[in-house]
């Protein structure tokens, strides 16, 4: 006992403490020698903070992205409203949710001069939703079209070029829905001839509901992100409502016989925008990231994102993509040839996906639940 006591009180303890202090200080010394990367938090859909997109920026700026991935805008709003201000430095959001984020005070104002907006196609320089009262809060970074996704063995492109194909008797039980009311009901509204598919009065809304209900016997299932991939990939579903190239593009690149087409009734556009989170302590670095990803170089990377491909709003980005990967540029329609995706937008065939204007979001969602249960 005495011996143990003397051991603890004697010089050995001092030596132990010295060694301990040295050991604890070592990481600090090495940190000084090789500055540890700064962590930048990103709230985004899966894929945006993966190495294929961020590795170059991380190396250039000695940054490490810490992503928090979400599925769906509501999930994103939930995460951000439950976190203290400054939790997320960079926020990626679907365009229709930017206004809700802004209204709740979650976004920092951006200076338009900081970003290469003059390189963007004119349609995207003052993109609705990015601006509020003449102030910029968000910048569109990528977008895509939603139309008819189809199995190329089962349908020809001509057959799939109308939403009416979903009612084709040979597709009974083979039509899948991406399980989210907004894109599906928007497409039904387009089919009903509503030029502003989300801004419809009560009678048009009733007509959309009736049209949608008539499709129910054709439907084989309602799928989330993973289920949509697998059911298209294994041919379980032969046509899909509510999605586009962001899903079929990935499958197509991996050899699956699926494609998406914007039908004659028109398509919807989803748009992803980057913002800086309110209260971010690293707003400068966040700004640099948005500058990078909206630059021609970053845009070409974004277009080819491994998780899901997309169209890009930066005209010079199209040139870089063409130089790097002409095949992908052609596949997605980002070329100088007539009929490219910008021509498609300019011809009025594409409408923004947005929240319903004359009904509550809840009204649409409740109907969607009823439709599923019918």
């Amino acid at each position: 006992m005495t011996r143990r006591g003397s051991l603890l009180r004697g010089p050995t303890r001092r030596a132990f403490l010295a060694a301990g202090t040295a050991a604890l200080a070592t990481p600090m010394l090495s940190r000084r020698a090789f500055a540890a990367p700064t962590e930048l938090t990103m709230l985004a859909w899966y894929g945006h903070a993966e190495p294929d997109i961020v590795a170059e920026f991380e190396a250039e700026h000695n940054v490490r992205f810490v992503p928090k991935y979400y599925t769906g805008g509501d999930n994103m709003l939930g995460l951000i409203s439950q976190s203290p201000p400054g939790t997320f430095d960079v926020i990626l959001s679907d365009a229709e949710y930017v206004q809700a984020l802004n209204a709740a005070g979650h976004l920092e104002e951006l200076d338009p001069d900081d970003y290469p907006l003059d390189e963007f196609f004119p349609e995207f320089q003052e993109f609705p939703g990015n601006w509020a009262d003449g102030k910029l809060f968000s910048i569109i970074t990528r977008f895509g079209f939603l139309g008819v996704a189809y199995n190329t063995d089962a349908l020809t492109e001509a057959e799939a070029s109308t939403y009416n194909v979903f009612w084709d008797p040979k597709l009974k039980g083979k039509v899948g829905h991406f399980d989210w009311h907004l894109p599906n009901l928007g497409q039904m509204s387009l089919l009903n001839g509503n030029s502003s598919p989300y801004d419809i009065d009560e009678s048009a809304w009733q007509a959309v509901k009736e049209k949608t209900m008539s499709l129910r016997p054709q439907v084989g299932g309602f799928f989330d992100y993973g289920g949509t991939f697998s059911s298209l990939n294994d041919g379980q579903m032969l046509a899909f409502c509510g999605i586009g190239d962001w899903i079929t593009g990935v499958l197509e690149k991996n050899g699956a016989k699926v494609r998406s087409v914007v039908p004659e009734e028109g398509g919807l556009q989803w748009s992803e925008c980057f913002s800086i989170g309110k209260g971010s302590q690293k707003a400068d670095l966040a700004r640099k990231w948005i500058q990078y990803i909206t630059s021609a170089r970053g845009q070409a990377k974004s277009a080819q994102m491994a998780a899901y491909p997309a169209l890009i709003p930066n005209r010079k980005g199209w040139e870089v993509l063409w130089a790097e990967n002409p095949e992908e540029a052609r596949r997605q329609g980002m070329t100088d040839e007539p009929g490219n995706v910008i021509d498609m937008i300019r011809s009025g065939r594409i409408k923004y996906r947005q929240w319903p204007v004359q009904q509550d979001l809840e009204t649409w969602n409740d109907f969607w639940s009823e439709y599923k249960g019918a």
Partner: protein, 281 residues
Amino acid sequence: MRRPISLYGLTFSLPLLVWQILFFVFPLVFLVALSFWTVRNFTLQPDFDTVNWTTMYGRTIFWQAYGTTLALAAAAAVLTSVLAFPAAYAIAFRLSDAARRWAVFLMVIPFFTSYLVRVYSWQIFLSDNGIFNVILGWAGFGPFTMLNTVGATMVGYLTLSFPLVVLLQLFSLAFVDRTLIEAAHNMRCGRLRTVAEVIIPSARTGLVIAALFCFILSFGDFVSPIYLGGGSPTTLSILITDTTKAGQQWPRAAVIALTMIGTLLLVAFSAVKFAYRGVLR
């Protein structure tokens, strides 16, 4: 006779009590409170409003989903019990001690892999171009639609609960008094009649508890109805996710969750009462 509370007894019972309060009672109380909150502009606001209850209970889809979920879980409990019983019976009465240990081990193995992975792998078997349809195709049949059906959901429920039900049934069969079976045989009672009139009544408690576990697991399951049933028909677990998908309606989801908890408590108490009827007298 009532025993005085001792420090020894408390040492063993307190952790359980603390655990229950922290992870069951407290979240449940919170869930009840949440069901009276309101949502404004995607933000939850503490409130005392019955709107969530009246809205959910006033919707046809809610009662439709409730009926579907109840029927599916009850069917799963019956089907699993019926299919598991011969397996449990054989393991309990027909196998040698060594073989029985192996059988128990084999029943535990499925728990080593994630349930989600097992359900996903069923898609490879059940899809139109899947293994079953290819085999049936060789024999000149099909293809049959198996995936995205109620039958496929049932396969998922079986995957979830079959091994557990076999184990629970096995433990109760193992404790059946063998002398009763011998007595039945001595009195010229046939094999099937012995099972029906001696073994099943003797093992009733375990059999009912096993079926109850299957019911509980299936009632709350989200994975099988989505990935094997294709999300149709809507079950309560699917309705919960639907409800939270637009406008952050967690309070309405809480109403569904509380109704599910209430139903499970009711079913569990009734089942336990039936299982132990006459046993504790």
